[in-house]
Amino acid sequence: MANPTIFERLDKLDRRIYYWLIVIVITWPLVSPIGLPITVKPSTRALYDGLTAVQEGDVVLIDIFMSVSTWPECMGGLVVETNTLLDRGARLIYVGNSVDVSRSWERLNELVPRLGLLEYGTDVVFLGYYTGADAAASQMAVDMSSIFPADHFGTPIDDLPLMSDANSATDYAMVLFTAEGEVKWIQQWGEPYGVPVAGMGIAMKGSALAPYLASGDIFGLAVGVRGAAELEKLAGMPAAATTTMDAISSTHLLFVILIVLANLPIIYNKIKGGS
């Protein structure tokens, strides 16, 4: 039996070798940051420009759709959005379609301490978890209190002064989605009531959201941890997302190297004219 070729040996490589490789290439830039520059995409800039155009007193609805698992992707962007809107004097209402949204709210408060300094019920409200996706969003557009008779902490909605100014879609200056769940806001708030919709999606959503961006159904979009890092750069507050980009660089380089290695036999055979 002929000795296996280098390609056959590479093909049979134990997958644990490249699993450990990926752990090493992630660890190294986290321990020893490089600080490669990040350029900002037009869609992220459009999102940021939309945030900075908010007027004092405007009410903004922020849907924290993300579960704790998408914190690395989206929490950085949510922090920038919150800080930017607070700088503009906006009043914020947070909701969430994930069972662990309360944990995301706590984490946001740890990362944006001035949320805790605001007057709860007047400047900021956390309504909490909701189910029903599109049906809930559609009903919220007509009457928020029917989906949230009380906020996450059990306070009746009538006891929250902010909610008296923000009971239907037309009371809101914009809706910001986070991670996923953007379609219901576009379809139930944006199109019927003309409420501007934007936000940041997980990286996988970048493609699915491109048509909405192109048709104007959303006015801005930051995609994944890259989008969060771009927002941090625009806002002048580099944080976790910016730090992660070095690890993204190293892993992506390794990824492409592995793809090239995997396709070397095919390229080699094509050059040799074989099958």
Binding site: S67, A136, R226, A262
Partner: protein, 194 residues
């Protein structure tokens, strides 16, 4: 229900709107109560494993059931209690993030084992993918200044026709599916049968 909601969308009739509002609230409440279905299924499966003492499984099923019961009781008694909060913050949060992130290993594995450019279609997919990979990573611009230029085009107009068509087809499919459900031709979600 379907007809009322659709009619409410197209016609601004106050009484119809009121009925539609009530129906939407009903849907929200029902979907919320239905969250427990998965829990019941889980307990049935793991309870069966324990009952039958399935080799290599039943001990782990006991762990699952004990974890579920203890955390559930802690949460029902006092959601703000120290024990429940600790379990939520340190066990659930960590495990949720870890399980989700483990797909990172699998995509690396698939990059090496499955992504082979055996024909033009696969080659085009891989080339577009690699360019976007280098566009998303800051190192791409360091390697070649053309990556962000081509990548930004791909992320914008480049992918637009493909995804636009997928979206439109999904929209048509939703409408057709709704028609099939209303006319009784689609009964999969009823669990089949008459």
């Amino acid at each position: 229900m379907f007809a009322v909601i659709i009619a409410d969308y197209f016609f601004a009739i106050a009484s119809l709107g009121s009925v539609a509002e009530v129906l939407r609230q009903f849907a929200v409440v029902i979907s919320n109560i239905a969250l427990g279905l998965g829990v019941i299924s889980l307990l049935r499966i793991h309870g069966r494993n324990v009952q039958r003492r399935l080799e290599g499984r039943w001990l782990y099923s006991i762990v699952t059931i004990i974890t579920f019961v203890s955390v559930f009781l802690l949460g029902i008694i006092n959601t703000n209690g120290d024990q429940y909060t600790w379990a939520f913050n340190h066990v659930y949060t960590t495990l949720q993030q870890t399980m989700y992130a483990s797909t990172g290993f699998f995509i690396v594995s698939s990059a090496y084992r499955a992504f082979r450019a055996r024909n033009i279609d696969a080659g085009l997919l891989l080339i577009a993918g690699c360019i976007v990979v280098f566009t998303n990573a800051p190192i791409g611009e360091v390697i070649w200044s053309g990556f962000p230029v081509i990548g930004d085009w791909l992320l914008g107009p480049g992918q637009l026709p493909g995804y636009r068509v997928l979206m439109m087809i999904a929209g048509f499919g939703t409408i057709v599916y709704a028609y099939r459900v209303i006319t009784g031709n689609e009964r999969g979600f009823f669990g089949g049968g008459e």
